[in-house]
Symmetry: C2
Subunit: 230 residues, 2 copies
Amino acid sequence: MTRDRDFTAVGRALSTPARSTFLNLLMDGTARPAGELAQTAGVSASTASEHLSVLVDAGLVTCQHRGRHRYYSLAGGEVAAALESLGVLADAAPVSGFRRSRRAEYLAAARFCYDHLAGRLGTGLTDAWVRSGWLAGRDELALTDAGAVGLREVGVDVDGAVAARRATTRACLDWTERRPHLAGALGSAVGSRFLSAGWVTRHRSGRGLDVTAAGRELARTAWGLDLTGA
Amino acid sequence: MTRDRDFTAVGRALSTPARSTFLNLLMDGTARPAGELAQTAGVSASTASEHLSVLVDAGLVTCQHRGRHRYYSLAGGEVAAALESLGVLADAAPVSGFRRSRRAEYLAAARFCYDHLAGRLGTGLTDAWVRSGWLAGRDELALTDAGAVGLREVGVDVDGAVAARRATTRACLDWTERRPHLAGALGSAVGSRFLSAGWVTRHRSGRGLDVTAAGRELARTAWGLDLTGA
DNA sequence: GGAACGCTTCGGTGGACGCCGAAATGTCCC
DNA sequence: GGGACATTTCGGCGTCCACCGAAGCGTTCC
């Protein structure tokens, strides 16, 4: 039975600067305590608490208790996907000062987008895998048999990703590059593998990633990808 | 340069029932005059006008003058795509009464989703084309060479779709079926062809579609698809 | 047990905005 | 040109809500 969708609750949840900031902070898939979110957004703890309960009620964010902290994170992959596609419409938030533009630069190089690799690293890998026939399609991304073999060889849990309930592959439109990169269960598996194998390391407290020497070496030898800029 | 996205403007645009209703009405890709939108949403003309200007300012909707009418329509495919992915999160809007549930039923059978076929017709065609190797992928949809040949044969402007600036293929998650169906430039071309060839006809004033006898026959003989339910 | 800490709830305030009717603007028809 | 019609603009009203500080609740550490 098809019905119209009521966008009011979700819309209201997105409609204030503080909540928008919270969501941007959580887009890397991390869980953060309420106080940290409050401080970053520049609102009092009580205000932040109210905002967070709105986001939870709207189903965008979940909360888990850990001792005297409460960690908030995005409610799931569909939420990240929806925010990404909204991001294509939304204006870029104002950034001020050198420090934030430095941050913007390294985010453009490599970052986590909820649970998969994004930035020049993400689009570069995706392009390389399309060229080598591991992924099919230009705008949409389907895993080929050759791709399954190849990714398995570098230790990506391909079978777990295929068996997962969520979509195996999904193309996520990169805000920076305006080009698709691999998301979905397989994108998540690739991201986990890159992190666990030490090919990328998380920048302290953020979405930014550093590509390690081992990561660059792998990209160059395995897929002919030059990541000196990333 | 990656920046955070400011969701406030878009969120605010979505955050009232009247505006949500407007967007739902425009999701079929039609352009409608302000008065009709006002009446359907149950608000005064002046209120509707204010709402519409908010939607235009947020970039979700465009307006074109036609004599003394002003026709409003969705601003583009990215808007439809964003609303679709938001729709996965949003609750179904309350429907009341028999008349609306009848409407819901025929919408579930076949409808336009912005510019491509959706409902059981849309997912049925997509599934059939994946089975016959015209489209590759399970969750994402890439056009194969065989698909290009086959669709060209039934009169779909495949080459125009490939050359278009927007994505050739895109998987759109159906609200009814919770399964993907073909969207993007190719989905649009398929929709146009089905309409121009008389395989479907538009229900008066709405997103609903009727599959004609010729359309059913084609689906059965060409792709082994039984559309008696659609 | 008590103090420090993280977070939420409560009460109150100011501004934003959704709503309407009336008036103004613009277009069409005769 | 005048009257009907579609739409927008304006003025005003009522409500909702973002915000803060203070108080309350639960956890941790000594």
